[in-house]
């Protein structure tokens, strides 16, 4: 627990917000004052004692929808990001360590994947696969893993030619050891920094996919989708879109504050002088 004691205030706030969100997400049905999909009042009613955040574009309670939305948003974004990082980082490191044909093949394949515009890719996937949440997670994870792959590979290639890695190779360590014991700890800093952002991109990408029809099915909605649903009100000063947008921003900053803090912790672990 000593790590929490020296925790800077920013990270503490980030951690608290993140934990609260996770709590809300998990216990949504017990916390939300109304069912998320029930139409209760007029369109875009202002905040009141009855509806704490007002109503949305269909007259549903915005607070309840935010709470149910947290569940979907966090679950899908976390799963997709986890998939993207596991897959992207491991393959990227392997490409850097093994080099040769594996590297060439993987790198060009990833280039191939990335060079196909997302719109066309999304449409083709849509036409083949059913629009369910697992599909969504896999598609998002796979698309994102290409980005992670490029970064991991770029970082790992540099590390791979460093003396301590070569020493390990001379010692006769296996690929697995080199990847997880030598490269991973030294590549964590840019990766964790990327993780925070990728997580947010996943949240945003989700709402973009809703637009293509591959998103969360109504009446459920993720936060990005809720911003979209209420977007017409923005230029007239209706706050219904600002609230989910603000929530995404708060989530983004919190997750990244925590990531930054972890970043410092990891630089401690490997003996750097990072922690101020």
């Amino acid at each position: 627990m000593t790590m929490f004691k020296r925790m800077p205030i920013g990270a503490a706030i980030g951690l608290i917000v993140t934990v609260v969100l996770l709590f809300v997400a998990i216990f949504a049905p017990w916390i939300a004052p109304y069912p998320g999909s029930r139409v209760l009042g007029g369109v875009w009613e202002p905040a009141s004692a009855q509806y704490w955040l007002g109503t949305d574009n269909l007259g549903r309670d915005l607070l309840s929808r935010m709470i149910y939305g947290a569940r979907i948003t966090v679950f899908i974004a976390v799963s997709a990001t986890a998939l993207a990082f596991t897959l992207g980082a491991i393959l990227g490191f392997m490409a850097a360590v093994l080099g040769g044909w594996f590297d060439t093949l993987m790198s060009r394949f990833v280039d191939l994947m990335m060079s196909i515009p997302t719109l066309i890719f999304g449409l083709v996937v849509l036409s083949v696969l059913p629009s369910t949440i697992p599909t969504l997670i896999i598609v998002m994870g796979l698309l994102d893993s290409t980005r992670v792959y490029r970064l991991s590979r770029a970082v790992a290639v540099d590390i791979n030619v460093m003396d301590f890695v070569e020493a390990a190779k001379l010692r006769g360590e296996g690929t697995r050891w080199i990847i997880f014991r030598e490269i991973l700890p030294n590549a964590l800093s840019p990766l964790v920094s990327e993780l925070g952002l990728r997580f947010i991109y996943a949240v945003l990408f989700l709402s973009a996919l809703s637009f293509l029809g591959l998103g969360v099915q109504p009446p459920n909605a993720d936060w990005g989708g809720m911003v979209r649903e209420n977007r017409e009100g923005i230029v007239f000063g209706i706050p219904a879109a600002l609230i989910p947008a603000g929530a995404i921003a708060a989530l983004a900053i919190s997750v990244n504050l925590v990531a930054d803090w972890l970043l410092n912790r990891t630089s401690d672990l490997k003996g750097g002088r990072g922690n101020a």
Partner: protein
């Protein structure tokens, strides 16, 4: 007759002739009072018009795939821009929906309404300097009614078997009598082109008040006043620029900041907010267009009449109009005709939201489990929300609807008219006959409710040839009742056209036939430059 009347109407506007004398001479010439009055209104309007100025419209419904070929027009930008440079034979009156002469000066039918003669106006020139001839007209209609055409007007023109030129007249022979032919020629695709557009369909040469200057599909189109234009009553501004704005917020912002003068498709939810902005005026007109949920009457579980009735009773139409269209709509009664049509069947009982009755029918149908309703952003504005609202309303009747949002892309090819239950919309048609023939008779390509009823088919066919309006009205009442009670159509609302203009735009004509003043706002309005 018509030319003389037009001349006289202008005399009235210029106060060289009084109104009473005009109406007397009009009736002597065989014109109806309504028609004579509409001429007067047009002439009087034109009298107050200011000339000049550059009019800019920011419109939804433009793509980089758009063409100037009228046969391929689908969306609002092509249609609106097209009406600045192209003209039709006949136009539907904004007041009573009757056919009004444009390039056709007058027309007459044989007694059985199976042969029609249209007299073509003289002294009209195309933008390339050529005179308009009856041959051009005949060729145009041939191009659109040819079985090898891509024109969307083909369906309307199916009944024409022969087109010929006789002096100043174009003669149409039909396979059977159709009292509505002049109205069918008001289809916006039927722009008269030199040699019917056979030489170069996308040349953009027409007889309209403006000639094409800039054509950048999906971006903007500009046309400038054509000096040789024949009709002084329209075409007041010096140039028209149509800018493609597919995003609703972009349109309202551009209108508020004065970058454009006219926008279409104001989001119903923001109408009240926009109306409060200074310098902005909302134009709201009831239309024939309607938003629907279509069930296939021949596909389980919708082949069960009780289930269909249960779903029809499970829609709270008033709430839907309020929440989806902010009240800018009129209640639908599950048949596709409203007061905007001639011979509207008055007094058909309005279907109301009745969860208990719906539950009763639902239980009687013996169906259990959720009912899948497909919807999409493109089905109609607010269709995804409307489906969710329907889901909520049906829940009160114990009916579980599962909403599935489909990609907008491919919705019209993969879902609509293929899946047994989905959201959709219909624009209006000029006549009851064309509406029913397009989508409700057996064998119609777009019978999107799979409504097959021989009695109904006979009724529609007989009504088409019936020249006695009273009998005809009675037939249409029976047809409406059949669709309402036995059909697969859930029609909660007829939407209003919601356009908006800057206050300096004057002379707006409220027209229920199409949005933006029957697509002709650009040629009808003028700019107050004071």
């Amino acid at each position: 007759m018509s030319k003389e009347l037009e001349f006289l109407s202008r005399m009235v506007a210029a106060r060289k002739l009084n109104r009473r004398d005009f109406l007397g001479r009009a009736s002597a010439l065989g014109a109806s009072a309504v028609f004579a009055n509409s001429l007067l209104i047009g002439a009087a309007r034109a009298q107050g018009a200011q000339k000049g100025g550059d009019l800019r419209l920011g419109l939804q419904g433009g793509e980089s795939t758009n063409s100037l070929d009228p046969a391929l027009w689908l969306t609002q930008v092509s249609q609106n821009f097209g009406s600045t440079w192209g003209e039709l034979l006949v136009l539907q009156s904004p007041q009573d929906g009757s056919p009004q002469p444009v390039l056709a000066e007058s027309w007459e039918a044989s007694d059985d309404a199976a042969e029609w003669r249209f007299k073509i106006r003289k002294g009209v020139t195309f933008h390339n300097g050529q005179d308009l001839t009856p041959e051009d007209v005949a060729q145009t209609i041939r191009r659109h009614s040819d079985e090898a055409t891509e024109s969307a007007a083909l369906g309307v023109l199916r009944g024409i078997t022969d087109i010929s030129v006789d002096g100043d007249n174009v003669v149409f022979k039909l396979d059977s009598g159709n009292a509505d032919l002049p109205l069918l020629l008001t289809d916006y695709h039927l722009v008269i082109q030199p040699n019917g557009g056979y030489d170069d369909p996308a040349a953009g040469i027409g007889t309209g008040p403006y000639q094409v200057e800039v054509n950048e599909p999906g971006i903007r189109h500009v046309s400038t006043k054509y000096d040789g234009y024949w009709n002084d009553d329209i075409g007041h501004v010096a140039s028209v620029e149509v800018i493609v704005m597919n995003d609703p917020t972009a349109r309202t912002s551009a209108l508020q900041s004065g970058q454009v003068h006219i926008i279409n498709r104001v989001e119903p939810r923001t109408v009240e907010l926009l109306a409060r902005m200074p310098g902005v005026h909302i134009e709201s007109v009831p239309s024939k267009g309607h938003y629907i949920f279509a069930m296939h009457c021949n596909t389980a579980p919708f082949d069960n009449a009780d289930l269909r009735m249960a779903l029809k009773l499970a829609v709270d139409r008033e709430q839907m109009i309020e929440q989806i269209l902010a009240g800018h709509a009129s209640v639908g009664n599950d048949f596709p005709i409203n007061q905007s049509y001639a011979l509207f069947p008055e007094g058909v009982e309005q279907r109301a939201y009745d969860p208990d009755e719906a539950r009763h029918y639902f239980e009687r149908s013996g169906h259990s489990g959720p009912i899948l309703l497909r919807t999409s952003e493109v089905a109609f504005p607010g269709a995804v929300d409307a489906a969710q609202l329907f889901q909520q309303q049906a829940q009160a009747a114990g009916i579980e609807i599962q909403v599935q949002r489909e990609p907008g892309d491919g919705y019209w090819t993969e879902v609509w008219n293929k899946q047994p239950f989905c959201a959709s919309y219909w624009g209006g048609r000029p006549t009851q006959d064309s509406m029913y023939s397009t989508a409700y008779v057996t064998g119609a390509d777009w019978n999107d409710t799979r409504f097959f009823d021989e009695g109904f088919d006979t009724l529609i066919r007989e009504a088409r040839g019936e020249l006695d309006d009273t009998k005809r009205a009675e037939m249409y009442r029976e047809a409406a009742t059949k669709v309402r009670d036995d059909g697969g159509l859930i029609l909660p609302m007829f939407n209003d056209f919601l356009d908006a203009r800057r206050e300096e735009v004057q002379g707006w004509v409220q027209d229920p036939n199409h949005e933006t003043s029957n697509l002709r706002a650009a040629t009808r309005v003028w700019l107050d430059q004071a």
